[in-house]
Amino acid sequence: MTALPPFQTVLDEHSAVVMAILQGAVGRDGAEDCFQETFLAALRAYPKLKDARNLRGWLLTIAHRKAIDHHRARGRNPVPVAEVAEVAVENGIPEPDEELWAAVGALPPKQRAAVALRYGSDLPHSEIGAALDCSPEAARRSLHEGLKRLRKELA
């Protein structure tokens, strides 16, 4: 068994990835809350974690669940929706990639997570599968479907 590193190390190394996937999954506004919920849940469970080898996969699994909770709490149907996510504007200047994020935000949850993990966090298929609790092949399919949809959306 690998010893658990100080939680601060986990936070330093993986907070950017977790924030990235959450922004993709629930949008910028929801990501802040989901980020807090994810890391608090992780910190609560941390001392009992049996295996320190895949901390990122573990965190992303929690983040994924929090994103689903977020959608449920909003009473949104977590299956495909055609609506375009709200466009966040900071200081009156739209973020340059806002259109892309809106399109990613409108993807079905699994595709959305797969896209965010692959391009936001640069994870290989095997780790995306681990994070989404599915096989690498299923992760690849979700990613493929998500990209196809994005291309159509943004064409």
Binding site: P6, V18, M19, Q36, L40, L43
Partner: protein, 193 residues
């Protein structure tokens, strides 16, 4: 893609503290001798890392021996930092901080508790400390208890010298020990070996 902002991390720390999840809170602080690492539990100050010690290693050790819930939380260490700053300015001769002694045990802990009662600006010998801890012949063990002091500065192992008056050793290096004794006004031109 943006990293979480400082404000996001700050909120996380605050909520972790509120929920009682901060098993070990730590911060770094400047001193005339270099950067110090300060770590505390809910019981009190548990570890002070001296400038020549590897902070990363100390944190891994704390995760291992106390709890892996180790988080940087500067605000939690405000009082410790304040007292240390005053001490280095020569304006504080007695720390009033709760201490967590769990990183030492048995004879070593008895030695360290005895050291903790040596007043500011005074020195004692390793032999005296061994005697206070209940075994005056265990001088070497008393020396190694000093050497393994998890809370240096606050538990003033720098005030323990050899019976001859020679400096003995110091985890932070002899120049630091000398500097601390000078600060406390007890190093009257002694040449240390």
């Amino acid at each position: 893609m943006k990293n979480p902002t400082g404000a996001t991390i700050e909120r996380f720390r605050a909520r972790a503290a509120e929920e009682g999840l901060l098993d070990v809170a730590y911060a770094t602080t400047d001193s005339p001798f270099g950067t110090l690492l300060l770590a505390q539990t809910r019981r009190g100050l548990v570890r002070v890392g001296l400038p020549n010690q590897d902070a990363e290693e100390l944190l891994v050790d704390l995760a291992d021996r106390i709890s892996p819930r180790v988080l940087e939380a500067p605000a939690a260490l405000d009082e410790v930092r304040r007292e240390l700053d005053l001490y280095f300015e020569g304006k504080l001769d007695h720390f009033d901080l709760p201490l967590d002694w769990r990183l030492s045990s048995g004879f070593r802990q008895r030695v360290l508790r005895a050291i903790n009662r040596i007043p500011y600006g005074q020195t004692r010998s390793y032999t005296e400390m061994a005697a206070k801890a209940g075994n005056e012949r265990a001088v070497r063990a008393a020396g190694s208890a000093c050497g393994s002091n998890p809370i240096p500065l606050v538990v003033p192992c720098h005030r323990v010298l050899r019976t001859s008056g020679a400096l003995g050793g110091y985890g932070g290096g002899l120049p630091m020990k000398e500097g601390l004794l000078e600060l406390e006004g007890v190093l009257g031109g002694r040449s240390g070996t």
